[in-house]
Each structure stands twice: as C-alpha cells, then as structure tokens.
Symmetry: C2
Subunit: 226 residues, 2 copies
C-alpha cells in the first residue's frame, strides 16, 4: 500500500491476508507460529504482531494458549456482513453525495464505463469484475470523507467479502443488473441527491443479500455478486 519499506510485520501481514483471501491458507486451518515464521523468513516476534492485525481484520480467530486459525466462513456470517454493509454503505452513499469532489465523481463515472466494456467483452465472472465491484464500492466509501467509516469497511469488511467471493466462487449471475444499479447510484451522487443515493445503495446491497438467502436455502452451491 505504501512505498517505503515498512516493518517486516506489515509486509508479512499483507502476504498472509492475500493467502487467506485466496484460500492458499484454507478456512479453519491452524496457524503454526514457528512454521509460518520460517516460511516467511522472519522471527516469531513480528509474526505475532502480524497475527494481531489479522485478528483485528477478523480474518483469524485466536484462542489463548491454544493458537490461531483461519476463520470459517458460513452463510449466516455472510448475511451478518451484508446487513452491516447495507447500513454502512447506505450512509457512505449519502455522505458521498454531499462530499465527493467533481474529479472524484468523474473518476467514478470512468470506472463504470470500464466495467461496462468488460462485461460486454467477457460475459461475467472474471477476476476483474469481482475486484472492480469492490473498487466501485470502495470509492464511494472514500468519497464519504468519514475516516472511521473508511477504516471499518476497508480494514474489516471488504477483505472478508473478497474472501467469500474467491472461495465460494461468488461470481455475479446478474452483472448487467448490478451495473445498472451502480449507474443509478452514481447518477444520484453526481446530482448531490443524498437521500436517493442512500436509498439506492441500501436497495442495491439488499438485493444482493436477498439473492444470497435464496441460493442459501436452495443449495450449498451459491451464485451471487455484489
């Protein structure tokens, strides 16, 4: 994230984050401190520091005197996350409509253009689309200018959302519909209509949540985005 070489703990932390998100470190697997330290060529001290951050990100679960394991994902927890996203990103959209700069909204519009192009070219489910969706939402969150909101969503929730997408193969089954909703939200922000932006964002995430719930009770093989 930052250019100057930070502490070993930070660097290793980011690597492990990626390993957890992508499933290289599987769900529920135990993290052996000496082994992990040796793997990354550092000592146990910085590694434990990195693990503290992973715990703060809710990516691992620690039990005193027993050890740490990668969190196990469940549909119930995914719904919990989406309930929170609905409330928090609704707020973010409202604030973004009030506080986003002209250049920021322009960049957001450009991003949507790129998404549209990619959806037309590659019919859905690409890596780009998944990350691109996170990009869209994260830009709005940043546009809220509420630093604490940015931290909560960026540090705690989005990594978990990415993790679900990778490991549950949550590629969108309605990319064009999601894009349409993104465009509506973007328009509301451009016009500075805070109330509408919040309402649209809440409905947008609510749609995704309801979609998850359907596939959830139908089968253990889901298909969902946003």
């Amino acid at each position: 994230m930052t250019q100057p070489t930070i502490s070993l703990a930070n660097r290793v932390c980011e690597i492990i984050v990626q390993d957890i998100v992508t499933g290289t470190l599987p769900q529920g697997s135990k993290l052996n401190e000496p082994e992990l330290a040796r793997t990354h060529g550092i000592s146990r001290g910085p590694l434990r520091e990195a693990m503290s951050r992973l715990e703060a990100m809710r990516l691992i679960k620690r039990i005193p005197n027993v050890g740490a394991s990668v969190v196990s994902l469940s549909y119930d927890e995914l719904l919990e996350i989406y309930q929170i996203r609905e409330a928090l990103e609704g707020l973010a959209a409202r604030l973004a409509a009030q506080n986003m700069s002209a250049t920021e909204t322009q960049e957001l519009r450009l991003l949507l253009g790129a998404h549209e192009k990619h959806i037309k070219q590659t019919q859905g489910q690409s890596y780009f689309q998944q990350e691109g969706d996170v990009d869209f939402h994260y830009r709005i969150v940043q546009g809220s200018k509420n630093q604490r909101l940015i931290n909560i969503l960026g540090d705690e929730l989005y990594n978990l959302v990415r993790m679900y997408r990778y490991q549950f193969s949550l590629s969108s089954n309605r990319p064009q519909q999601a894009l349409k909703e993104h465009n509506q939200i973007c328009a509301a922000i451009e016009e500075g209509d805070a109330e509408l932006a919040e309402w649209l964002m809440r409905r947008h995430i609510g749609n995704a949540r309801r979609n998850i719930m359907q596939h959830m009770q139908a089968d253990a093989t889901p298909a969902e985005d946003l």
Copy 2:
C-alpha cells in the same frame, strides 16, 4: 471479562484501556514502551501485543519506527462516530425487535426502571447515568444477535464514546428526554415492531448528534449525552 487468568497482554490491555478512557493517559501523549512495560511489570513483548489491540480499538495511533500515541479527540471525529452509530444502532434496534428473547426484553425494561429511579434521585450527570446509557445501548446491540455488529460497536466505538464522555464531561443536559426516548425504543422492541424501533433509534442518536453540533459551533464547552 473472562474468569480464568488470561495472558499478560490481555490483562494489561484492559488496564490501559481504562487509563485511556478516563484520561489517566492523556490525549496525544506518547506511549513509551520500556516505561509502560516497567510500570505494569511485564516485558515489551506482551506490551506490544496489548498495544496492537489498542490500535485495533482505535484508542492509540501508531506510526512505524516512531511510536504510538493516545488518539486526540476532536468534534469532527465525534460526529463521524455518531453518524456511524446512527446507521449501525438503527440496524441493531431493528434486529433486536426481531430476535430479542422475552427475558432479554424484561431485563431491558428493568434497566430503564433503575435509570428512572436514579434520575429522580440524583439530578443527572452521575457516573452511573453515563455508564447506564452505554448499558442500555449495548443490550440492544447484543439483542441483535449479529455477532459482527456486536464486535464492531463493542470493541471499537463504545470505548471511544466513553472516552469522550469522561474527558469532555459530556453529562446529559436532557436526561429525562433521553429516558423517554429509551422507553419508546424499548416499547417498539417489545412489540416486535422492527421498522419503528430502527426509526426511533436513528432519531434518538440523530438528536444527540445535532445537539453536539450546536454546542460545537457555539463553544468548546459542550454538553451532550447519548
């Protein structure tokens, strides 16, 4: 919190949390690792672990190779927090109306009775009232049964709210009004009216936020509660 003696880091962490909240460790003050470790009779290893948790709680701010300082409170950040509380506790109230058990609502009602009694006896601003308010809100949050929501509010936001109250002397200037709003929320939860509970909670916290904003531009000497 838990009965068996946990790790040194946990114990010291809770002590430092209290020191920060109450102002024993002043805002912006630098945390000297060897000194703090010596003070609490532990080594730097566990102390750094404790500091990582304080960082996750947003009570201290760390800069690589420079050190950690207690956060500095500002009205802008207080408003940020209340914006988030409005969204998140609105969600909590809605879920609580759906998921709270009968015994939980009864206990909530009892708590409000105790508050009423205390307000009549001691006209406002007591320590009990401040903590009692946090109790009320935290019970609703727990009643939501959304574990992640409980963690975010309990671990990150409520400690900061308590910190503001202690150090800005944010005793309520409208205790009876706040109590009335609490009773309304409690009634909506008892009746299982999720929508109303959410709306009332959002207005309740929104009132507090607007109250803060008034005193904020008026002077640097505020008076506000929940």
